[in-house]
C-alpha cells in the first residue's frame, strides 16, 4: 500500500502577470522503502509539487487549489499550513533536504542547535540526550570528528559537509519519507557520488522512502526504482526506472533522453537531437497538450483535444499522450 498518495494536486500562483499554474493536476504515490525519482526541467513544477505536500507554499501568492495528499490516513491539504497537525508531521515524519545547504542552514546557530531543535521538539528529548543524539547523527552521515564539530557554525563546514548536516537533520526523527530537492546540484560530481551513496545506504538501513527531485537523468537512473517525468506542471510519464530509460513512450521523455550526451559515446559518433523550441509559458498554457508545439510525433487529435489523461501502456508504465511510439 502506498505510504503517500497525492491525487489531482493543483497549486497556482497569483502573480502580477497572471495566474501561474505551476502544478496542474499532479498525482503520484510513494511506496514504503522505495527510492522515487521526480524529474523535469526548471519550471516544470517538481519542486512546487513537493513543497505543496509539505505545505510550504507561500500563501499568498501561492494557493493549493485542488487535490488530496493522503498520508497515514489523513489528508494533509485539509490541515492549516502552520497548524499543530501539520507541524507534527513536517520535519518529523516527512522531512526535506534542500538544494542549497548554505541558505537552508541558519548561519548564526551552531550545528548542534540546529540538529537538537527538532529532536527536542518532536522526540521530546532533553538537551543532553539531544546533543548526544546529534553527535551520533553526524557520525552516521560521515562528518569526521563529530563530537568537536557539532559546536561549529555552518560557515566552518564545506559545501559537501553542510549537505551531510542537512541529511542528518532529515533523518533525525526517523522519518517515513524524505524529500530531497536537487540535493546534489550545488556540489561537485565526486561529492555528489559520496552524498548519493550515503543517502541510499541510510534510507535502506532506516527503511525510509526517498523522493529525489532532480533535473539530472543520470542521478535517477542510478538510484531510483520508479520515476515520474514532469513537464509544464503535469506528470507526463511514469514507470519503473528500466521502462522509462529503456522503453520511454512519451515524446518528451524520448526527446530528453536523445538530447543528452552519454558518457562513453565515441566523439563524433552521434549528433545530439535537441528538443526544438521552448517550454510553454505557464501563464498562457495552451488548451491542448503543452508539449504539442515541440513534439515531432504529433497527430491530428493532439491539436483538437485537451491534454490527454494518463493511460497505461504497460505494467506500472503510464503516459499522457495519444500517440503510440514503439521502440526507442
Amino acid at each position: 500500500m502506498a505510504l503517500l498518495e497525492v491525487e489531482g494536486l493543483k497549486t497556482y500562483f497569483h502573480t502580477e502577470y497572471g495566474l501561474v499554474k505551476a502544478v496542474d493536476g499532479v498525482s503520484f504515490q510513494v511506496n514504503r522503502g522505495e527510492i522515487l525519482g521526480l524529474v523535469g526541467e526548471s519550471g516544470c513544477g517538481k519542486s512546487v509539487s513537493i513543497l505543496s505536500v509539505m505545505q510550504l507554499i507561500p500563501i499568498p501568492p501561492g494557493e493549493i487549489v485542488a487535490g488530496k495528499v493522503m498520508f497515514d490516513g489523513q489528508d494533509l491539504v485539509k490541515y492549516e499550513p502552520n497548524g499543530r497537525e501539520m507541524r507534527a508531521i513536517r520535519g518529523s515524519k516527512i522531512t526535506m533536504i534542500f538544494q542549497e545547504p548554505m541558505t537552508s542552514l541558519n548561519p548564526v546557530l551552531t550545528i548542534s542547535r540546529q540538529l537538537t531543535e527538532s529532536l527536542e521538539l518532536h522526540l521530546d528529548m532533553d538537551r543532553e540526550a539531544a546533543k548526544e543524539r546529534a553527535i551520533e547523527l553526524l557520525k552516521m552521515v560521515g562528518v569526521p570528528d563529530a563530537a568537536r564539530r557539532v559546536d561549529d557554525y555552518p560557515h566552518q563546514f564545506s559545501g559537501g559537509m553542510r549537505q551531510r548536516v542537512m541529511i542528518a537533520m532529515a533523518i533525525s526523527c526517523n522519518p517515513m519519507i524524505i524529500f530531497a530537492d536537487e540535493p546534489t546540484t550545488a556540489v561537485d560530481v565526486t561529492t555528489q557520488a559520496q552524498l548519493l551513496e550515503l543517502m541510499k545506504d541510510l534510507v535502506t538501513r532506516l527503511d525510509t522512502s526517498l523522493v529525489i527531485v532532480t533535473h539530472n537523468l543520470g542521478v535517477v537512473a542510478r538510484y531510483a526504482q520508479r520515476i515520474y517525468v514532469m513537464y509544464a506542471g503535469r506528470i507526463i510519464e511514469s514507470g519503473l526506472s528500466e521502462d522509462i530509460f529503456e522503453h520511454p513512450r512519451h515524446p518528451y521523455t524520448i526527446g530528453l533522453l536523445n538530447s543528452v550526451p552519454k558518457l562513453g559515446e565515441r566523439h563524433g559518433a552521434r549528433k545530439l537531437v535537441p528538443i526544438e523550441g521552448l517550454p510553454p509559458n505557464l501563464i498562457q498554457m495552451p488548451p491542448t497538450c503543452a508539449f504539442l508545439a515541440r513534439c515531432t510525433h504529433k497527430v491530428k487529435r493532439c491539436q483538437t483535444e485537451p491534454w490527454p489523461a494518463m493511460r497505461a501502456v504497460g505494467d506500472q508504465h503510464y503516459i499522457s499522450c495519444f500517440v503510440d511510439i514503439k521502440g526507442k
Binding site: 557520488a193 559520496q194 551513496e197 543520470g218 542510478r222 530528453l256 566523439h267 549528433k271
Partner: protein, 328 residues
C-alpha cells in the same frame, strides 16, 4: 597523431602558473599564494576542440582566463599564433585578443542588461575598428543568422530573450571579429537539459562551417567528451591526464580520472547496475596549501610513499596519452 608538426598548433601553453597572492593586514602583506594554476602544459591544434574538465576550484577557468590574457600569468608561456602573448604588454594586447573569442557561463550576467542585443553583438567590431557604421549593421544581421537568431530581434534587450537565446547572443558576440580560437567557459551549464543540446549542436556546426578551434571548459564530463577531440583532466591546478576523448573513457589511467568517471551517473539503469563505483574519501584540499608531491595522493588508493615526495611529471605513455602519475 604524433607526426603533426608544431605549425598545426594554434595554441601552446607551457608551464603556465597563475598564483593569486593572499594578503593580510593594513599593509596588505603577502602571506601566501593561491596556486590556482600550477605548471600547466598543453597545446591545441587548428580546428580541434580541447576539453578542460575538473571540479570547481581545479583551475580550469583560470587557465582559460590566462589564455585570454584577462589575467597576467605568474609565469610560463602562452604561444598563440606564434607569439607569446603572456609577454605582450597590456597596451598592445588588444590586437592579439581580437583573434580569440570568449563564451561565458552565465547568459544573464555576461550580457549588459541595458544594451540591445544587436549592439552587444556589434561591440567587438567597434572596439577593434573592424567595421564602418554601414557595414556594422550588415555584419550583425549576418551574425544573428549564423547563430540562429531572428535579426528582427536586434533591438531587444537581454531580458526579452530566453536562456538559450541569450547564450546565442553570447556566441554571436564571440564570433564577431572572426576569431580563430574560442574559449568556451561552461557555455551550457546554466541552461536547461532540453536546451543544452541545441547549443552543443550549434557550437559543433559553427566549428565545421567557420573552421574554429575551441578550448572547451566544463565540469560535465559527458558533455566535454561529446564535443572534444581531446580532453585534459585537471585537479588542484594541475593536469592529471590528457588524451583523446574516446581513449579517456575506454582506457583511463590516472586514479583520479577513474574516480571522476565512475562518479558520473549515466542515464541508463541497466548499465548503472554493473558499473563499479569508486567513491573518493574526503574532499578536495585547499589550493593555498596543496598536498606535497602529487596533489591527489591523500585521496588516492594507489598512493605510496614517493607520491607524497615527488611531483609526478605529465609524461607521454604512447599515442599522445599523457598522464601525471608514477604508479601507472
Amino acid at each position: 597523431m604524433m607526426n603533426v608538426s608544431q605549425n598545426d598548433e594554434i595554441l601552446q601553453v607551457k608551464d603556465l602558473k597563475m598564483y593569486f597572492p593572499i594578503t593580510r593586514g593594513l599593509l596588505r602583506r603577502k602571506v601566501g599564494d593561491i596556486k590556482a594554476v600550477d605548471e600547466v602544459t598543453f597545446s591545441i591544434k587548428k580546428h580541434e576542440t580541447l576539453g578542460l574538465v575538473g571540479e570547481s576550484g581545479c583551475g580550469k577557468t583560470t587557465t582559460g582566463r590566462c589564455v585570454l590574457r584577462l589575467y597576467q600569468p605568474t609565469s610560463g608561456s602562452i604561444i598563440f599564433d606564434g607569439i607569446d602573448i603572456s609577454k605582450v604588454p597590456e597596451r598592445k594586447i588588444k590586437s592579439h585578443r581580437r583573434d580569440m573569442g570568449a563564451i561565458f557561463q552565465d547568459p544573464f550576467g555576461s550580457l549588459n542588461p541595458r544594451q540591445s542585443a544587436g549592439s552587444i553583438v556589434g561591440d567587438p567590431l567597434k572596439v577593434h575598428n573592424m567595421a564602418s557604421d554601414a557595414e556594422l549593421k550588415d555584419r550583425v544581421i549576418e551574425l544573428f543568422r549564423i547563430v540562429g537568431l531572428d535579426p528582427s530581434m536586434m533591438d531587444r534587450v537581454p531580458h526579452e530573450f530566453s536562456g538559450g537565446q541569450r547564450q546565442r547572443i553570447g556566441i554571436a558576440r564571440a564570433l564577431a571579429c572572426s576569431p580563430s580560437l574560442i574559449i568556451c567557459d561552461e557555455p551550457i551549464s546554466a541552461l536547461d537539459v532540453s536546451i543544452q543540446a541545441q547549443i552543443i549542436n550549434l557550437l559543433e556546426e559553427l566549428q565545421e562551417k567557420l573552421g574554429l578551434t575551441y578550448l572547451f571548459i566544463a565540469h560535465d564530463l559527458a558533455v566535454v567528451q561529446h564535443i572534444s577531440d581531446r580532453v585534459a583532466v585537471m585537479y588542484l591546478g594541475r593536469i592529471m591526464e590528457l588524451t583523446d576523448s574516446t581513449e579517456l573513457y575506454e582506457n583511463p589511467l590516472h586514479p583520479y580520472t577513474k574516480a571522476l568517471l565512475s562518479a558520473i551517473p549515466i542515464p541508463d539503469p541497466v548499465a548503472e547496475r554493473t558499473r563499479t563505483r569508486i567513491v573518493l574519501k574526503g574532499e578536495v584540499p585547499s589550493p593555498v596549501n596543496p598536498p606535497s608531491g602529487c596533489h591527489f595522493h591523500p585521496r588516492c588508493s594507489l598512493a605510496i610513499k614517493e607520491c607524497a615526495q615527488v611531483r609526478p611529471p605529465l609524461r607521454d605513455v604512447g599515442n599522445g596519452h599523457y598522464v601525471s602519475c608514477i604508479r601507472v
